[in-house]
């Protein structure tokens, strides 16, 4: 038998074996039972982090010298709706942040109202789930102050952020961006509704007029183009029921890792 034939047989044999293995792996990946078991690790991660961190434990803050020269814009960089276009035209003068759901006093706050409240400025690192990081300087009002103003109704457990951008254009609105955090993160001192970035007004590419900063979690939790905050007991009935745009598409709700 010639070398070539043997070699070819070996290559055919190994590629058949590899294909079989791949199919086997992918079948395992798609099994719901396997996924349910693997998903248990998410609660382990959240449990471990919450056990080891106090409610006040801060994310590292950096200095001006550490700022990224270019802060990468990710996800939506220009929401594609007439309403949003109208808002940008007059510099978000008509924009109002709606705070409702399980609150004692529903609010409608303008950008001027928010800027009149006490602010916090922090230089922090933004970590994308993909693996890259960028450091930016954020100025905004602590979410806790806004929640205090509205007053939580008993039973409220999560703050849901409704956004202006359709990251996955759809007719039924299921591609609309949204996010949610629990009250531990909502009351955290570094959790702010940021309207300023690197000393200027927040740019459209980064979520103008306002984005969430929740510094102990990954980038997709930091909802951009926030239009409203809804306090809920459960997010089961919202969109895909997993508490966020990316969560509905398989990503962890607790993105501390």
């Amino acid at each position: 038998m010639s070398f070539d034939l043997t070699r070819r047989r070996f290559l055919i044999g190994s590629s058949v074996a590899a294909t079989g293995l791949l199919t086997g792996c992918d079948a395992m990946v798609q099994s719901t039972t396997v996924n349910d078991i693997l998903q248990k690790a998410e609660s382990l991660t959240m449990g471990a982090q919450r056990l080891l961190m106090s409610r006040q434990t801060l994310a590292r803050e950096f200095s001006e010298a550490d700022l990224s020269p270019v802060f990468k814009a990710n996800g939506t960089s220009q929401p594609d709706s007439e309403d949003y276009a109208r808002m940008t035209e007059n510099n978000f003068a008509d924009w109002k942040l709606a705070v409702n759901g399980m609150v004692k006093t529903p609010l409608n706050l303008s950008l001027a109202d928010l800027k009149a409240m006490p602010s916090r400025t922090q230089i922090t690192r933004h970590d994308c789930v993909e693996g890259w990081s960028a450091i930016g300087k954020w100025t905004g009002v602590p979410l806790g102050l806004v929640l205090e103003k509205a007053g939580l109704a008993p039973g409220a457990r999560y703050a849901v952020f409704h956004c202006a951008d359709d990251l996955e254009p759809s007719l039924d609105g299921s591609g609309r961006y949204y996010e949610s955090i629990d009250l531990v993160d909502a009351w955290h001192p570094q959790t702010i509704l940021a309207y300023g970035m690197n000393g200027k007004d927040l740019e459209v590419a980064h979520g103008a007029p306002m984005r969430l900063r929740v510094e102990r979690q990954l980038g997709y939790k930091h909802a951009k183009y926030v239009m409203g905050i809804e306090l809920v007991e459960s997010f089961k009935n919202l969109a895909g029921g997993k508490g966020g745009f990316w969560e509905d598409r398989g990503y962890e709700w607790y993105a501390g890792i």
Binding site: K72, V129, G131, G250
Partner: protein, 290 residues
């Protein structure tokens, strides 16, 4: 240590003595580690594929000017694509393996090829789910092994080299023997040789813990809990690069480990890591110590 003598013959055939080399704890944690590291590598490469660029420092993103020093990508090449791996200013055409490889019968842009990632297709969310599940599994298994190694005296008995093994003459002799693929026989094969011991120590006490620590340094939650990790590794992006380099070192270790298992008596090695019993072969003139 229990010794079982078998196959005593009157001819010049070497005498085989089975002895109990690997405890149950070592065998179970070894094979669980194989399982964990395999899934961690495959899901890790899936995660890497989501952003196949490595940086040094606190930050790094592919926003121009791109400061990455290792980058795997695809570029257009006529009506097809080619895979390019860039290390510093050095660019290599790696079509077929890195940057561009066959997926569903078509040359597609992807850093690591489909046959080595889990799942085979691009799916970061699933890759992360597998990675973190097996990361927990790996950490718990590793802690059980470390505790056993300390309390059960496995480290002192089997892993830490003796003083005699560390003399320059002895080390030089072992390097020469290894280079000629000549392995100790008889009584000398009862214990790991010094190169083996030093390699195992590097993997157990340096590389595998480095893997866990650099992994934790990439987590924003653990960053808040252990901020000193950022100072130790010089930033999240440095930690990500070190995570990748340590993983590569583990892959190199595993390749060498498997080659050594194959050339130094594959059945004997496999049996000892499955049943615990390892056979020592003695020439008739040798003394058998019990």
């Amino acid at each position: 240590m229990a010794s079982v003598t078998s196959g005593v013959t009157d001819t010049a055939k070497p005498k085989k003595v089975l002895f109990y080399r690997h405890s149950v704890a070592v065998r179970i944690t070894h094979w669980l580690n194989v399982l964990c590291l395999s899934f961690l590598l495959m899901s890790g490469l899936q995660i890497f594929n989501a952003h196949p660029h490595l940086y040094w420092g606190q930050y790094g993103a592919d926003a121009l000017p791109d400061p990455s020093f290792i980058s795997i990508g695809a570029v257009e090449d006529g009506d097809t694509i080619k895979g390019v791996t860039r290390i510093g200013s050095l660019s290599l055409n790696t079509t077929g393996v890195l940057g561009a490889s066959t997926e569903d019968g078509e040359l597609s842009p992807r850093a690591f090829p489909a046959w080595i990632t889990i799942p085979s297709y691009q799916d970061l969310a699933t890759g992360r789910r597998w990675h973190f599940f097996f990361a927990w599994f790996f950490v718990i298994n590793g802690l059980v092994y470390l505790l056993y190694g300390l309390i059960g005296r496995h480290f002192r008995r089997d892993i830490v080299p003796t003083k005699d093994q560390l003399t320059p003459g002895h080390l030089a002799q072992e390097i020469a023997d290894h280079a000629r693929l000549r392995f100790p026989k008889g009584e000398k094969a009862r214990h790991y040789n010094s190169l083996q011991k030093l390699t195992y120590m590097a993997i157990i006490f340096i590389i595998l813990p480095l893997m866990v620590l650099t992994g934790l340094t990439m987590s924003p939650g653990f960053n808040a809990i252990f901020p000193w990790l950022l100072d130790v590794f010089g930033g999240r992006q440095s930690a990500r690069t070190l995570h990748f380099i340590s993983a590569s070192l583990i892959v190199i270790f595993v390749i060498v480990h498997i080659v050594m298992v194959l050339v130094s008596g594959v059945w004997n090695n496999l049996r000892s890591m499955i049943t615990g019993y390892y056979a020592l072969k003695f020439e008739q003139k040798d003394e058998v110590s019990k």
